[in-house]
């Protein structure tokens, strides 16, 4: 780290001492512990290493009682004096120092912001500390699990992705927001939606409909589906970010609203459902705050091509990755024993094509909002 970065930080501290919350103090102390271990190892002339809980399939287990994915006790050692790990070790320490600075200054930044904050050329070389953000993001997640601190506790947030609309009034950082009066764009779901920041005031919703992406959400919003069916309509722009998942979780548990998902009929859509329902493998440590084991899968289904009488031109052929991924998903422990799901995935593979939600437009522009979803809801025709 270059010196120039420290100077402004110190002046800021002097002029305006930042009040640290108790959470901040806890995070800071665990950061210092991490740093102290390096010093300690160096004193003892031992190679410094940091234990990072493993974020892979092998280190998650499915809690059958609670129906969520939990992280196991497996840890990976990250060593400074290991050729393949030296750089990521250095990056881990850098992220730690960056978070420490954010907390000291009482500011939050996006993960992209942190990437820029830490990115510089290593002195005496032509090498960058981080080549791109994709290199930085996993390291941030590593620090989260290693310190057992949530992203917001590290004063970080992700890029805002996802929107919400519906008969609900909330307070966001003190501002009152009526989500039924958000026009065509909806309320952009922020990255941090913890109760300290967002409070639910009142609502008239009976359920939450989560759709996969913006285009489908637009259709529902334009058709005022949420008004007609008294629901909260959200989307997560593909794989929903943590803010969206946490908000769905809070809507489900705090307001007792059932959550229904309308996703593409492809492995990607299946996995989005899986993540909403029992948590992700990558962020298994967050499942308790995010997973909604009661969430239901509305569609699209492998049988919809025939059931809805779609034209053959909407078929998208499965490629090899799709097939591989479908088989992988089918073998996850939380899908393994669900006959309906096994049948569903098997049928998609034998269909040899996938369907996007948008394909229903080929029937009629508002087929999805006027026929498809209402019928499924009425018949309670879901996959669980």
């Amino acid at each position: 780290m270059a010196k120039r970065k420290q100077a402004p930080a110190e002046t800021a501290k002097r002029t305006e001492p930042v009040k640290l919350s108790s959470k901040d103090k806890k995070t800071l102390s665990s950061l210092v512990v991490m740093a102290d271990r390096v010093v300690e190892a160096a004193h003892k002339a031992k190679p410094p290493a940091i234990d990072i809980p493993s974020r892979s399939l092998s280190n998650v287990r499915f809690n059958k009682a609670q129906k969520i994915i939990e992280m196991g006790g497996g840890k990976n050692k990250r060593e400074l004096f290991n050729l393949s790990q030296a750089k990521s070790y250095m990056q881990t320490m850098l992220v730690g120092s960056g978070c420490k600075r954010l907390i000291d200054e009482g500011k939050t930044t996006s993960i992209r912001g942190l990437y820029y904050l830490l990115k510089h050329t290593i002195e005496g070389t032509k090498e960058e500390t981080f080549n791109d953000q994709a290199e930085c993001d996993p390291v941030i997640e590593d620090v989260e699990v290693a310190l057992d601190a949530l992203r917001e506790e590290l004063h970080l947030y992700a890029q805002t992705k996802g929107a919400m609309v519906g008969p609900i009034e909330i307070t966001d950082s003190g501002d009152e927001i009526d989500c039924s009066r958000m026009g065509s764009g909806g309320y952009a779901i922020p990255s941090i939606v913890e109760p300290e920041r967002i409070q639910f005031r009142k609502h008239a919703a009976k359920f939450v409909l989560h759709v996969e992406k913006d285009t489908v959400w637009q259709r529902f919003n334009e058709d005022k589906f949420w008004k007609k069916h008294h629901c909260i309509l959200t989307h997560g722009g593909g794989q929903p970010p943590r803010g969206v998942r946490r908000l769905l979780n809070r809507l489900h548990y705090e307001l007792k609203l059932p959550v229904y998902c309308l996703l593409d009929n492809d492995p990607w859509g299946y996995y989005i459902y899986s993540v909403i329902k029992q948590g992700s493998i990558n962020l298994a440590f967050e499942s308790r705050r995010m997973a909604i084991p009661e969430a239901k899968y509305v569609g699209l289904r492998s049988k919809d091509y025939e059931r809805c009488g779609l034209s053959s031109s909407v078929k998208i052929r499965l490629n090899d990755t799709d097939k591989k991924r479908a088989k992988q998903i089918a073998s996850y422990p939380w899908f393994e024993h669900k006959k309906e799901w096994q049948k569903e995935i098997q049928q998609m593979i034998s269909n040899d094509f996938k369907l996007e939600v948008e394909s229903l437009i080929s029937k009629d522009i508002s087929y999805v909002t006027e026929v498809y979803v209402p019928q499924r809801l009425q018949d309670r025709d879901f996959l669980d």
């Binding site: 780290m1 210092v32 030296a86 250095m90 320490m93 730690g96 120092s97 290593i122």
Partner: protein, 710 residues
Amino acid sequence: MSGEREEAPASGRRATAESMAAQQRSISVSEFFTKNRHLLGFDNPRKALLTTVKEAVDNSLDACEEAGIVPEIWVQITPTNNSRFKVAIQDNGPGIVKKQVPLIFGKLLYGSKFHRLRMSRGQQGIGISAAGMYGQLTTGKPIKIVSKTHKTKPAHYFEIHINTKTNSPDILNGKGEGEDIPPGDKGQAYCQKNEIEWINDYPLENPEDKPQPIASGTRVTIELEGQHKRGKGSVDEFLEQTAIANPHVTIHYWDPEGQSRTWRRATRTLPPEPKEIKPHPYGVELGRLMTMIKEQPTSTTLSAFLTENFSRVSAGVARKICETAKLSTRSTLKKIAQSDVDKLFQAIQETKIAAPATDCLVPIGEPLLLQGLYQVVPGEFFTVASRPPAVYRGNPFLIEVGLAYGGTVSTKKVNKEELVALLNETDARTVKQFLVSTFDGLGPDGADKIISASGIGTRQNPSKLKRTEVEELFTAMQDVSVSETQQMQLYRYANRVPLQFKMGDCLVTKTASSLNWRSYGLSQSRGALPNGPLTLMVHVASVWVPFTSESKEAIASYDEIEKEIRLAVQTVGRRLSAFLRLRSNIRQEGERRNIFLRYLGEVAAAVSDINGFNRGQLYEELLAVAQKKTREADTKLDKHGKRVTDEAELNSDNVLIVETPLLAGEGLSTGGVATGKGQVHDTEAVRSLKKKGAPRAPRTKREKTKRTKR
């Protein structure tokens, strides 16, 4: 013959027995060799020049060693006209007594070495007189000899023609008696007056020193038709290789272009004098056995004949032989019939006789071989190995092997002027041919690489290259890395004499090519010598080296010799592979350190940002851990958990490693906080690798062997 007679009509008989008899007469050796000069190494002008130098140098070295004088040799080649050269070789040997001079230089097959079994360079006594004869044949000029046996006694000067009919010398000067040159200053004046060449004093080490007169010695001058060309099979190469195998010799060389070069001795200790041995019964053929019996007084008993004329034959062994041959030990040679000799010969083969004594062999010795190799071949790794003496066909022999790794490729050793000269000298038809034949170890692949990099046509005539093309070729030769495609250079020696021709026919080449060098970490095409910047020298020392021909260019195949060569080469091969492993480990360690070093500064800064610990101190501490860590990573453990170090194998007297910056293992020891010096060192190491071998002075050595002054 019978066929001819049938076809020829009776009336037209071409010749009668009588007329044919008129043409039948004995052939003198000289005449025979005049016609078959290729048998003696005078096939072409270029080789003739080399053979002449070689024969003279061999004789000089043999003479010096026999007399116990530390040899110093002067070789002067001066062009007299277009294709003629005057070759003069002078030594500081014992000199030759007046009576013997004409015979030694003017009679073929006259010498002291043929009849005895003793390790020496010359064997038959043909060499130098054949060179004189060749000179006489091509230029008509006599062979000139100056010989001085004592500081205060007159030297003798002879000009000799060989009478090829009678194989005898004709002395041309001093009314057929030769001339005497008085000793001292008078002699110098006499020489000057009569245009006799003689070097009076040793060259001065310091200009202030008093000149040291040469007390005795011989100088041979032969004028002959020859061709001077550098590169493979040249005089330069011969002298260089001679210097490797004879570290006790100093050679001064003036080449035809007036350039001089000196190979200085690495030691003043002479090799011990080789002992003469009696022939071993197993090595004697039937014909030779018969001759030996004839040469003895007829009253000698069979037992006495066997015990006195052969080595390792005791009275007991003699009795056994006689028993097997069903002959009486007490019968005199007079009674031994032709058929009995045959029986005796068979009996010898069937009797178990101890191997001959091997103390008659004088190896170069590992330390001296190592020094010789180090002084002449540029490189970074040198190793030598020798085998205990062994026996083939009753002749003791001994194998010594040296190996050098690294060094500059021969293509990078020439400068532009030399290249132009070489291009003009060559008789190669294409550039590729030129490159392959001129530069040792380059090989066709390397030549192709150079040619394609230079952008000139492959089939270009080398002497017709344009100036710019020569320049491009030169640049390509400097730039293109051919160390991978370059083939191992093989130096073959027999009794310390380098063998330069008929490489393919030689047992040494065959053996070296048949080994699997890939297991030593080198690349090798099937059945070929391995590739890489390698020089292998193999020395076969024996009382009788089996050559494939009289020109002494290749060693004949004997299983016993092949086995010994193989074992010795394998020994140095293993050491080389240990060195290569060590080197690649060190290189890897350097890379590893660089990676760590790069990140240490960042880690120290980040940690100090978090907990406020002193950044500089932390960096130093981490640096220490890094050093320890990288060292540990390179320590291998064997099956029993003990450390395996290649160093152990390399850490012996017969290995010499020249330290390059890369091997010195810099990188971590220097540098402050996050200086990132690793990269700088990296490039320095690479650079110094590239130019390795160029300057010899700043080198340091790791090994105990004392470095001699240059």
